[in-house]
């Protein structure tokens, strides 16, 4: 009999989750749906952070650059210059542009590892932010760009509900792609680089090139997210490029945990829910609460994150199944 592998289990869980996400809009208000949608769109960007940390042990603060690039691309083409609102053009365009930018930035940023990688990410993000902020004539400066058209797919104009399903579909594709990549020969060799760089080089692994490729994968994830986020908010501003925004994705990754595949999914929804909950009831306490949450997670469970906490009751003997159960609970909530 064919044995059900861990990967198959993850796949089944993902499809169940996607099914749940499909039904959510039928039961909740428009505002709540937009929250779920935001959570969905965050997932690929958080996977970018996840892939760089769990495989390469690098902390990636620069995701906001690629979200910003994708967002401004949408804002220019579907807003300011009204060229097209066709997702079949904008999504591939966002993908290509973010890949090119990630490749070029990757040449510099991946020159260093550890602390310096993280700081380089922040520094480059600040350069982008100030460029966008200062280039008022093109980017609208601090006012940003509003009045973005509604998106279209196959030239059909999409309503809010239809767009939600497009976001779900795109996120699902990206997550499946991540599942593939995380189980690939590429990923095993990335883990080798993180484990012992000298030995990796000595057995012929092109260290620099592969680090750059991982950086490009992370950036491409955020680029696609950015294209859709601009439509979801119907507005872009330079704050998308602020490094603190990029840090949000690192925070989400920490909340979800960086040891299991469900981490970024749990993290993205955990962060968005926390943000919603706090801003509704304790509007002034956001920084304190997010800070405390992360501190508690880091001290108590460390790399496993929330996924790890919820996993522990199931973990005896069947650690990996528990992993997927948790994410189901999280999503239904």
């Amino acid at each position: 009999m064919h044995k059900i592998s861990q990967q198959d289990r993850t796949l089944i869980t993902l499809l169940v989750l996607a099914g749940l996400a499909m039904m959510i809009p039928l039961f909740v208000s428009g505002y709540q749906r937009s929250l779920v949608q935001k959570g969905l769109l965050w997932i690929p960007a958080v996977y970018g952070v996840y892939i760089l940390y769990s495989l390469l042990r690098q902390v990636h603060f620069a995701q906001s650059i690629f979200i910003g690039v994708g967002s401004y691309l949408t804002a220019f083409l579907a807003g300011k210059y009204s060229v097209t609102n066709e997702l079949l053009i904008l999504l591939p365009a966002g993908l290509v542009v973010s890949i090119v930018i990630a490749y070029v930035l990757g040449i510099f940023i991946t020159k260093r590892t550890g602390f310096y990688f993280a700081v380089m990410g922040i520094a480059v993000t600040m350069v982008f932010w100030s460029l966008v902020y200062k280039a008022r004539a093109i980017t609208g400066g601090s006012d940003g760009i509003s009045h973005i058209m509604h998106p279209a797919l196959f030239t059909m104009q999409l309503g809010d509900m239809a767009f939600y399903y497009v976001c779900l579909a795109v996120t699902l594709c990206m997550v499946l792609l991540m599942l593939r990549i995380l189980n690939s020969p590429f990923s095993l060799q990335l883990r080798a680089i993180a484990g012992d760089l000298d030995k990796a080089e000595a057995i012929g692994i092109p260290v620099k090139g592969m680090q750059r490729a991982a950086f490009v994968i992370a950036g491409a994830n955020a680029g696609v997210t950015g294209v859709l986020l601009a439509f979801a908010y119907n507005y872009v501003s330079p704050s998308t490029f602020e490094w603190t925004y990029g840090a949000n994705f690192v925070q989400a990754a920490i909340i979800g945990g960086v040891t299991g595949f469900a981490g970024p999914i749990v993290g993205a929804f955990g962060f968005i829910n926390l943000e919603f909950f706090v801003s509704t009831w304790f509007a002034n306490l956001w920084e304190i609460i997010i800070g405390l949450t992360i501190a508690i997670i880091v001290v108590t469970v460390g790399e496993q994150g929330v996924t790890g906490i919820a996993q522990s009751p199931f973990s005896r003997g069947r650690a990996k199944l528990g992993n997927s159960k948790e994410s189901t609970c999280k999503h239904v909530e």
Binding site: R180, S184, P185, R191, D196, K199, A202, I203
Partner: protein
């Protein structure tokens, strides 16, 4: 050993030079190595042995001189490319991937040897050829019993063997071995050395072995080079070389 003149030698180094300020680490050294030729390299600390190996692997670029592999110039080629082309080194202290299973350690090297670095979308479990080759190497190096164990849980001796097995996974043409037995107990020393030498012989590989233990040197190879201040000062069979007065002078206090 055999030096067939019709074929280009495996590796040719011509007038290699590497200075660090005033220190002449490697001073105009020329060296030819043919397939199957095993050379031991001895010398006091700071004689330039490791620098010479690093020049050959590409970790250091020489100030002057050139290196050819099978007649092709490789002086500026990056270390990872040289490793894929068959110049493989082992480390003085074992370098392994602690957070992976023994199987994944060897598999990583097999993947790299097969050039599957940018294979993003293939499921690793479906890499039949790679996985079979990995199993084969585990058998060959007597690691099959611990293949699912995380390397961090294994002792030094095992780690050395894993390190060496990864080198052989690269299908090397020449092995550069930097003090293979440092930091290993007396008993395991011989086991590891035997394993290494048997594999070198079985695959008819060329090798340069840096070794401090002169008794071991006598057993390892028919040819020894003595290095001092960045130059070769003697070359020949170990018996010949170790009788020379200047060599004894240098190696005094080294257990000779």
């Amino acid at each position: 050993m055999l030096n067939d003149d019709s074929k280009p030698p495996l590796i040719t180094a011509t007038n290699l030079r590497k200075y660090y300020g005033e220190v002449k680490s490697v001073n105009d050294i020329s060296l030819e190595i043919a397939q199957g030729q095993v050379i031991t390299l001895v010398g006091a600390n700071g004689a330039g042995k490791t620098t010479l190996l690093n020049l050959l692997t590409g970790l250091i670029i020489p100030d002057r001189g050139e290196i050819r592999l099978l007649g092709e110039k490789i002086t500026g080629v990056a270390p990872d490319k040289r490793a894929r082309r068959g110049i493989v080194k082992t480390f003085q202290l074992e370098h392994v991937f602690d957070e992976m299973s023994v199987f994944d350690n060897i598999r990583t090297a097999c993947l790299s040897a097969a050039g599957k670095h940018y294979s993003f979308f293939k499921d690793i479990e479906n890499e039949k050829e790679i996985n079979e080759r990995t199993e084969g190497l585990l058998e060959l190096f007597d690691l099959a019993g611990v293949k699912d164990t995380f390397v961090r849980n294994l002792g030094h001796g095992y780690k050395k063997v894993i390190d060496i097995a990864m080198c052989f996974a690269m299908k090397p043409k020449i092995l550069l071995v930097d003090e293979p037995t440092s930091g290993v107990g007396e008993e395991e020393k011989f086991r590891i050395m035997n394993l290494l030498m048997n594999q070198i012989e079985a695959n008819n590989l060329a090798a340069i072995i840096v070794e401090h233990d002169l008794h071991l040197v006598k057993e390892l190879s028919k040819e020894t080079i003595v290095m001092c201040d960045g130059e070769f000062i003697a070359r020949g069979t170990p018996e010949q070389v170790f009788c020379l007065e200047k060599v004894v002078e240098i190696l005094v206090g080294k257990g000779f």
